[in-house]
Subunit: 266 residues, 2 copies
DNA sequence: AGGTCTTGTCTCTTATAAGAGACGCATGTA
DNA sequence: TACATGCGTCTCTTATAAGAGACAAGACCT
């Protein structure tokens, strides 16, 4: 997210884009940042506030927002001085879904899986180096373990993350995972070597279960969806209470793997 | 779509953006055109082909597409040299839907309406001067009358069009409707005065029925959804065979109006 | 009624991105 | 084997868009 870029120095050894330090920013980049920012805030926001949040000059921001609103990618919210995503983005998004068998079928599988098991179920993909929930369907429990579509979290925090990276060389993985990604929300640190080993193991067993990583009370079961032999395109996963019995976990994993395999045929 | 802009002179009396004739085009505009173009073609397309379709220089197109792919707004399709919409657009689109009560509830209403009646049902909105199908749910008939989400057609061709423009002054309407919009697919021409009168009538009666406009065998029933008193934000509509009986049409209109009214409360 | 913010618009400068065009490498086809 | 056509990358120029900053108008405090 909008990680105060001007403030932090570059994480050691990451992208080597040379920064001319104080140069102008391309309009298109500003636009991309605007969209990311809105996605992070999840609600309409004033233009001034937006400019501030992006460290972007006000005049430029006004201009770009106007153009985007005219184009329909953004819309002015009810009160008239806040912006949020626009209808065009919705239409483009639906077009993406229509053109994407995996996503379309995956959504259905997830919905039925969560209906059948009563547990929260998700379809996840790798998106710009992070684990991304592409579709989720809440479970039936009184206290739901739910999470929103579009949420992005570090790969090492999740079972799916171990599957999504299966088959990549170590160097590729190192390029994707940052130091921060290896620190769990509760402060514990995952060793990169351990993580890479877990990836290898997940690749062999064909599924992955993690307990109490993102939080202390959930367990995460994931199975890979292949787009080609060996190429993991997505994962399906179930989020269940951490005290779920061994047997039930086993049953759920079996069901999950079956469904994921069915999706893979594509 | 992508109306060979370089070829045609401006429709008399429309937008007065001065064209410096042979100037450079802003990157952001190119991007907006790329998105529109992909939306129109509805499938992945080669970059060269894309550049040609947009009358854009090849080098620029390559640069922009690369940036958009890096950003996740576009994706390279399977074979590796075609582009189409990307996951980010899907995520933004879902975010739009989540933040938009009317759309979210409207989709549901449309789905149940089409299940209950067995007819094709749609939620429509005004989008950049055109009638846009925002969500549609196909009917149960052996030969389905269906249409895709995102389809845009001229306002005068539809029942919804007459409702979406209700309450606008004549000058606003004239600004939106072009000469071409008034010519039906079969060549017949609608008089602007007649059209404006029909809008006024639809506004009073609170619904609109049109027969055999876009094609010879369908009838279109539409009812307005209000976002504020007098402000038509969307329409719900049913597409039925043109020979549907008077009684059944009446029943359907009543049902439709009830549903649309329920949506309006928001 | 003065002081402090924010909002939206406008003007002007200059750093820079759009674009022309060349290049090398694949294909295909005569 | 030559010739054409499409793809992807690069270089260099100059038209232009990003941005600084000024301005008027409203909002909200004292």
């Amino acid at each position: 997210m909008q990680d105060g870029e001007a403030m932090t120095e570059w994480p050691t050894g990451s992208r080597d884009e040379e920064k001319p330090a104080n140069s102008r920013e391309k309009g298109l980049n500003r636009v991309l940042h605007i969209l990311e920012f809105l996605h992070a805030t999840q609600r309409a926001i004033g233009i001034g506030e937006l400019a501030k949040g992006l460290n972007a000059p006000r005049s430029t921001t006004y201009t770009l927002v106007r153009e985007l609103v005219d184009a329909g990618l953004l819309e002015m919210a009810g009160d008239g001085n806040r912006v949020y995503f626009g209808k065009k983005l919705y239409l483009y998004g639906m077009a993406y879904m229509r053109g994407n068998d995996l996503l379309r079928r995956g959504r259905q599988e997830v919905d039925t899986l969560s209906r059948e098991t009563g547990e929260t179920s998700e379809l996840c993909m790798l998106q710009s180096g992070r684990y991304t929930i592409v579709h989720s369907s809440p479970g039936m429990r009184p206290f739901r373990i739910s999470s929103a579509t579009g949420l992005q979290i570090p790969l090492p925090w999740t079972a799916s993350g171990r599957l999504l990276l299966a088959g990549l060389e170590r160097s590729r993985i190192e390029a994707i995972i940052t130091e921060d990604d290896l620190v769990l929300p509760d402060g514990r640190k995952i060793e990169l070597d351990d993580f890479i080993e877990e990836i290898a193991k997940a690749r062999v067993t064909g599924y992955c279960v993690t307990s109490g990583l993102v939080d202390a009370y959930t367990k995460c079961l994931a199975a890979p969806v292949f787009s080609a032999p060996g190429k993991v395109e997505a994962t399906m996963c179930l989020v269940v209470p951490i005290d779920t019995s061994q047997e039930r976990t086993g049953e759920l994993v079996a069901l999950l793997r079956e469904r994921a395999a069915r999706l893979s045929i594509s």
